[in-house]
Symmetry: C2
Subunit: 349 residues, 2 copies
């Protein structure tokens, strides 16, 4: 099969250390993906000198000047109609078909709002979601929604389940992804109404899905499901609890070693083993939260990402474009009978 | 000050390895608390031989036969009126004033239901909550509700904040506990309605509380607050995410070391430093979730607790009885003007 013409649109001005780490990240990603082209949006006075440090990017990168940028403190409502920011222009390139995906390390709310406005929600999907790929003990899983929708009803959760399934298939290569709803108990009567309703809907409908029921957060790590579905509030709480705890443990571990000469010596012996753990758990590997449910791929890099981490969110984008993620999700959603889902919802009551 | 006559009531039949670890746990706790008396409820044919192994307990423990027990799969509605279970009898001893606290490693839902029925909710408090003490990087904090109330309104959250503040003062010795509401963002407009409302209520009312606003889960570990308040669904999700991640990291760490001779050697050197981390993070130290908001102290030990862990939940109970926790909470709640809180709620809209 001939390689597609892959073009990634990049907002060079988003994130704490932009545009420096953005350009360095592109250079890293370009090394392993030499056939991919980039359109870079940003302040050319700042970006151009950085690009010149990487002559190998000359043929794959096109820089387009953006006179303004979205700041972290900007409200989505303020920036949504300003067509002159690097973020807006980068998203617009996807809308116009020049690029297949956009990557930005900028303001999440703004990126979501401008992406929604320009790329529009996929026909039949009510709300887009934020989704990430994360590591469990035996592999990787996808979790959504991570914060786009503070309140969700059962239909929203079903849609997330369906889109998450397609993502796990395309991004992780899992043939039949097991889908679970995040809940506070595994028993049927546990949890909030909308979650119980969503479980009923998935079970009673004809959605072709390996549904494993409810999952509790401490079982995520045991690899019992490949897709974890929650409303945006709950997903965000779980995500930040997981990240916070991992950081705390690493911090305590480092701190204890720093204070002991003997432990430092031990660390030398332990280094290769620990590097293996780091190779799996390094949060930089999982950088790149995707907005799914839109007619185009919009990926949010962590604002504090370094060049390696930013390159991972680009590679993430490239991989999903290669996997035809957006055309697949649009086509498969077309085939779902959401009226049937709604009917099931009313039947439940 | 003369030491009070402290009596702890114990359900010997709850938990995975009962009554063995329960009796061993009592023996451990009795060593450091020789003045405390125990009333033990359980199948005397099983408990009596275990007690005989600890002759030193003869003067401090009284065994009372219970012909039945609550099983893990029992529904609260089934066991709530059965006065013959060891759990019911143990709680009843607190109700009748024979003991000041009850400890059980049995079925959580049953323990909550029987405790509520017998001990009744404190005047002015609408709903009791489940609360635990946990470690952050610089000390300890209390978090509630951990699962008693799947849905909460703003008034419930305010009551949890207030009770949590008293607990942090009495259990952790923090003079002015800082209280925060668990949320997905620190900004005022973030999160669910009831959380925003609760923040308004606390700020506008005369509740004497050091309120630090919203806290995100990854900031819990940085010690920004001493009391973390959430509805029972959110609190349970956060708790299980934290526990699951800690377990995953320890598992991966152990696994990596097991596979490398060099790392095993390194572990020898690192042992003293790691023991310090374990001394802070060992989940057994934090065993004992408390039901607060009731006219009596009811403590749930982890079902899989070992003797050391069970002894910690007893010591937890003893400490809170010494600190006059229940009389204090009753008295301080008496002084809150909850009508004022409600008025604030309506003002907000």
């Amino acid at each position: 099969m001939a390689e597609k013409n892959i073009v990634i649109s990049v907002d060079a001005m988003g994130g704490d250390k932009s545009p420096k780490i953005v350009i360095e990240g592109i250079a890293l990603a370009a090394k392993t993906n030499p056939e991919v082209k980039f359109i870079i949006f940003g302040d050319s006075a700042k970006v151009s000198p950085l690009l010149q440090k990487f002559p190998e990017l000359q043929n794959t990168c096109e820089l387009r000047h953006a006179s303004e940028m979205v700041h972290n403190e900007d409200k989505p409502s303020q920036v949504i109609r300003n067509r002159n920011t690097s973020m807006f222009m980068a998203i617009d390139a996807v809308k116009r078909g020049e690029a297949q995906a956009v990557v930005s390390a900028g303001n999440t709310g703004a990126l979501m709002a401008i992406s929604k406005l320009n790329l529009k929600t996929i026909n039949k999907i009510h709300r887009p979601a934020i989704v990430s790929i994360m590591p469990h003990l035996y592999g990787r899983y996808v979790m959504l929604d991570l914060g786009a929708n503070t309140e969700c009803d059962a239909v929203n959760l079903c849609e997330f389940a369906f889109m998450g399934k397609i993502l796990a298939h395309r991004a992780l290569g899992i043939e039949k992804p097991r889908v679970a709803l995040l809940n506070i108990g595994a028993e049927e009567m546990k949890g909030r109404e909308e979650i119980k309703q969503a479980a009923q809907m998935i079970k009673s409908s004809h959605i072709n899905m390996d549904f494993v029921g409810f999952i509790e957060p401490h079982d995520i790590q045991n690899g019992l499901a490949d897709v974890i579905v929650a409303d945006g509030f709950t997903g965000n709480i779980a995500l930040k609890s997981i990240e916070g705890t991992a950081k705390q443990l690493v911090h305590m571990f480092k701190d204890a070693i720093k204070k002991s000469l003997l432990a430092k010596l031990g660390l030398l012996f332990m280094f290769p083993a620990l590097r293996k753990v780091k190779k799996i758990m390094d949060p930089r590997l999982y950088n790149g939260a995707m907005f799914i449910g839109l007619n185009g791929l919009s990926i949010k890099s962590h604002g504090g990402a370094d060049a390696f981490s930013f390159s991972k969110s680009i590679e993430n984008a490239v991989h999903l474009v290669r996997q035809d993620f957006i055309p697949t999700i649009r086509q498969e959603v077309e085939n779902i009978d959401f009226d049937e889902l709604q009917a099931v919802m009313y039947d439940v009551y």
